[in-house]
Every structure is written in C-alpha cells, then in structure tokens.
Symmetry: C2
Subunit: 150 residues, 2 copies
C-alpha cells in the first residue's frame, strides 16, 4: 500500500460518499486533471486502500424488516470449535456480520430477517442447532440513529 497524501485522502472521502461520481467531476473536486485523478484511483484500487464499490440498498430492497445483534457463547474455545461455528454462520444469508469479540461470549452477530417470525425460525432452527453454541442473547435493533453504512 503506497503512501497516501492529502489528495488521496480527498479522493477517498469523495468516493466514500459517492462511488459513482464521474472521474471528471472527481478531478474537479480534488483539483487535478482527469488523467492524474484516474491514475491515483487505479493505484488506490491496486494497493487495496479501495476494496470495492457497493450500492447501499434500503432495508425493504434487501427484504429486511427485522434486525438484531446476537451475542453467541461457545461450548469450547478450541480452534476447531471456532472454525466449525464460523463455517456454520458463513453459509447463513441472515448473518450479515460475525465479529469475534473479547468478553464473556465469543461472537457478536448482526442478523437481518424479513420479520420477527423469520428471525425466530432462524434463531431456533439455524443458530440453536449448531453444536458449538452454548448461549444466545438477542438484542433487537429498534433504530439506528447513526449508521455509516447507510
């Protein structure tokens, strides 16, 4: 990853909020010619500073009417146990994020489902069935006053 100067920082900030801006408009915003801007963007992509470009979809477009964070405790803390659990959630489309955290439990999941009934089904039939899982604590999201993903 090459060094990131102030102009790169401005490019990243603009692309973070509008990934589909034209290269010409981006060039105008950062004060460079289009070709120099394009070369910088390509370098940032190659270096991995820009990992990709994504459309942000509304919850309705994703089919999500219910979101929860779930704290998951495991039976054993072995590598095999963790890997088994991670494989289990990797295949579940409802699990949007799986974080390995410090504290009294091992994992924090973000789960999205169509509605409460769909979540209940996922909770008991998918998560509850994984042999590594010892405890599940659900925190229903009532709102997100701040969310950088949106």
């Amino acid at each position: 990853m090459d060094h990131i100067d102030p102009i790169d920082t401005r490019i990243l900030r603009v692309l973070q909020s509008d990934a589909r801006i034209s290269n010409q408009a981006l060039a105008g915003r950062v004060g460079l010619s289009p070709s120099a801007t394009l070369r910088r963007v390509q370098a940032l992509e190659r270096s991995g500073a820009i990992q990709g470009y994504r459309a942000v979809l509304s919850p309705a477009a994703r089919g999500t009417g219910f979101t929860a964070y779930v704290a998951v405790g495991l039976n054993d803390h072995t590598k095999a146990g963790q890997e088994g659990f991670e494989r289990g959630v990797a295949g579940a489309p409802q699990v949007r994020e799986c974080h390995n955290i410090t504290g009294t439990v091992e994992y924090l999941l973000r789960v999205e489902a169509a509605d409460l009934a769909a979540y209940k089904h996922f909770h008991t039939e998918v998560l509850g069935v994984l042999p590594q899982v010892r405890s599940l604590q659900t925190y229903v999201v009532m709102g997100s006053p701040k969310d950088d993903r949106a």
Copy 2:
C-alpha cells in the same frame, strides 16, 4: 417504491457487489438492453431502493487499527435523555454506528480508532463525559470472519 421484479433483483445484486460496473455491462449481465437497464436503475434510485453508492475502504485507509462494540446504559430513559446522547455521539467520528437496542442497556455503538491508546482517550474523554451515560461495556473486535460491508 415500485414493485421489484426478478430483473430488478438481479440488478440490485450486481450493483451491491460492484457499484461501478458500466451500464452496458450491467445490461449484459441481466439480459436487457442498456437503455432499459438504465431506466430501471434510475427508477430504483428514485424509489429509494438504491440509497447510494459507496467505496469500501480498507481499515488502514480509514486510519483504523482498533475496533470495538460498546454497550451503553443511560441514566434516564426519557426522550430528552436519549436525544442528548444521540447528539453527543452524532458528532464523534469514531462512532461509526449507533443502534438503539432492547435489553439491559439502551445503545450498542461500533467505535473505530487508530489504536488502543486512541480508543482509551475516546472512551474516557468523550463517552465517559456525556452526562446521560450510566454504564459502558467495551467488547474489542479481534476479527470479523464475516462482514458484508467489506
């Protein structure tokens, strides 16, 4: 928001994983002509199904070397107390997400900082200073085996 048919669903899936694909290439992928595809994308933007397009930056490009979830309990559950807290975190760039959750505490934050020292400073000098805050519990993220944002 108009109704979303199978072709719209395919368009959304493609744009979700590559927001900068050209309209022509997108048309090829969904099996429509470029003009019909463009009209659908514009309709999806207007209807709010597509909320925007964002570049995904690496943690290094964001200056993040330390991530934690923080469970925050408030002193009072009044509307004014919640709004005061939400205003407090809205201005903190380290707080990337703030979710209002059910359970024993009121909020779950995702916090990103340069390193542990920067986090400690944020924890005691920013969060700890908000008058509405009663309790703070930090869960350090050691890894994210699954993260749809990446």
